[in-house]
Symmetry: C2
């Protein structure tokens, strides 16, 4: 049986192999992604974001256990920025997930930042497609960083979960990361700490000022993920949002938004790669960078020159 068939039959080793190919950016990876694409679109994508230290990994682990209890299969993508320093720390976090590693119904993969800006978003999405094609019913994307790129990754999910914690500094930390408006479901984790109710109240107050496009009123849940408290209610909240979306075909709209975002990102990446290939024949980027750095030209004029040479 070839790689594609094995993935479509849910073989985790085949899936892992394709994901490695995707990360290495091979031509075979693209061919395989094309082949599996017709078999995607069934998985329900859940994005989880929040500030560092809010317990996203533990929450992801607990939600996974709950979904498994309900008989659902789960794929998990942990989006980690690469760092030569961080291997150990992130590994430590992931160890908690190990209890799912013997469970065929769960597939876990960490994604690291590679290369230039935007590359991570694109490859994360390819991995969503792989997990989707292998039949995972729920696909959880957990981001470690809280920034523009990570927000764009999770906001294209069907359900986006924003995690906050009480007393992280003097302000609500999630606000500062600008992620309040992307949440369908809010979690105040570590809710046994002082100030949990205040954090809930603050989120409620902020939600009152916002409007949802589709009439969904975001829900707020308190959890103590480390002890598994509040996870059942949270999971029901997620499933409630899913039901809401399906009732009015909202999952199709969200899927379409995701498609548009993926397509646009891929177009951007491929255009740049193609342009750089063309430029490589004429000495590459260096001569232009030298001229800009010497202030003989400026970035805008230089880019216009390149576009002209490319006939665009």
């Amino acid at each position: 049986m070839d790689l594609i068939d094995r993935i479509l039959h849910g073989d985790p080793r085949a899936a892992a192999r394709l994901i490695t190919m995707v990360e290495n950016g091979t031509a075979e990876a693209v061919a395989a992604l094309k082949a599996i694409y017709p078999h995607t679109g069934r998985g329900y994508v859940i994005g989880i974001t929040g500030p560092p230290g809010s317990g996203k990994s533990t929450l992801t682990d607990r939600i996974t256990a709950e979904l498994r209890q309900l008989g659902k299969t789960v794929g998990i993508i942990a989006v980690d920025p690469t760092s030569p320093f961080t291997g150990g720390a992130i590994l430590g976090d992931r160890i908690r997930m190990q209890r799912h590693s013997l469970d065929d119904g769960v597939f876990i993969r960490s994604m690291a930042t590679r290369g230039h800006l935007g590359g991570l978003s694109r490859s994360t999405n390819d991995v969503v497609d792989v997990l989707d094609a292998m039949g995972k019913e729920y696909i959880l994307i957990e981001t470690v960083g809280v920034g523009q790129a990570e927000i764009e990754i999770v906001r294209t999910a069907h359900t986006t979960i924003v995690v906050a914690v009480p007393g992280l500094g003097d302000e609500i930390q999630v606000i500062k990361a600008g992620i309040m408006e992307i949440g369908d479901v809010f979690v105040v984790n570590k809710a046994d700490r002082d100030g949990a109710d205040r954090t809930v109240l603050e989120i409620e107050m902020m939600l009152e000022h916002g409007e949802s496009d589709d009439g969904w009123r975001p829900k707020i849940f308190k959890t103590v993920a480390a002890r598994g408290e509040g996870i059942d209610a949270l999971t029901q909240g997620i499933l409630g949002h899913r039901e809401f979306l399906f009732e009015e075909e909202g999952h199709r709209r969200k899927g379409r938004e995701r498609t548009r975002w993926v397509f646009r990102g891929l177009l951007q990446e491929r255009l740049t790669a193609r342009a750089l290939e063309r430029m490589a024949r004429g000495g590459g980027l260096d001569p232009l960078v030298d001229r800009i750095a010497a202030r003989e030209t400026d970035p805008y004029t230089a880019v216009e020159e390149v576009l002209k040479k490319l006939g665009l």
Copy 2:
């Protein structure tokens, strides 16, 4: 006197006007950026990043005050993700900066996330050029989010400052954001809290495992920014790194890296914009997105079709 001349003479109102034009993406903005570009390259760029709640705004404010005492002019760019919910909260933070608002030697501007991924990086860089052209000797870029995009913004600075705080969760938060390797200077802020020395030690241990490209050994400073403690030593540390860079022309190397990064980002943005313009004539993105969403084609094949049509 026209806009360009006024900016080159340091007029803050002219600079603010050009920045607004940049944010709105007008053609006049591009013309003006081209005109000021030959007058850039003198400012020293300092990037400040760290997890939410680490006190970056207060640190930026204090470093600014210290640099002013040393007779230096300062430009500040606060990179905030846009959120309909956050206006007030971010404003609150910025209010602390107000004490510089009557000082001609300081220019402050907040940048918000607009449009698609990467747009913020590019416009932030344009604002660096504006502040540079108006003669600001030190340009401080403070990011609110901690993610891939934000890391790329600050890592192209001459000096990158990574801010940590004791006891933010059970681990060192900065590790999780994957930002340890980009720091030239580390700050353990709120160092009056328990565990400050442990945080310093943990950063030291991690630094031992890393290597610097240029022989710089990152320095760690303890501060209590809210009370102004440790700011003089920190500022001297920043100036020390600056001296180190200048001694071996490292500032030119860093400037060149920045130029390359800016050029590449601008190329990517303009290529995509041009391609979308061309596609708009043929019905735009929608028909393709529909076909992909219906699984009649896949994103990779669709992008190849577009590239072919564009003659690339």
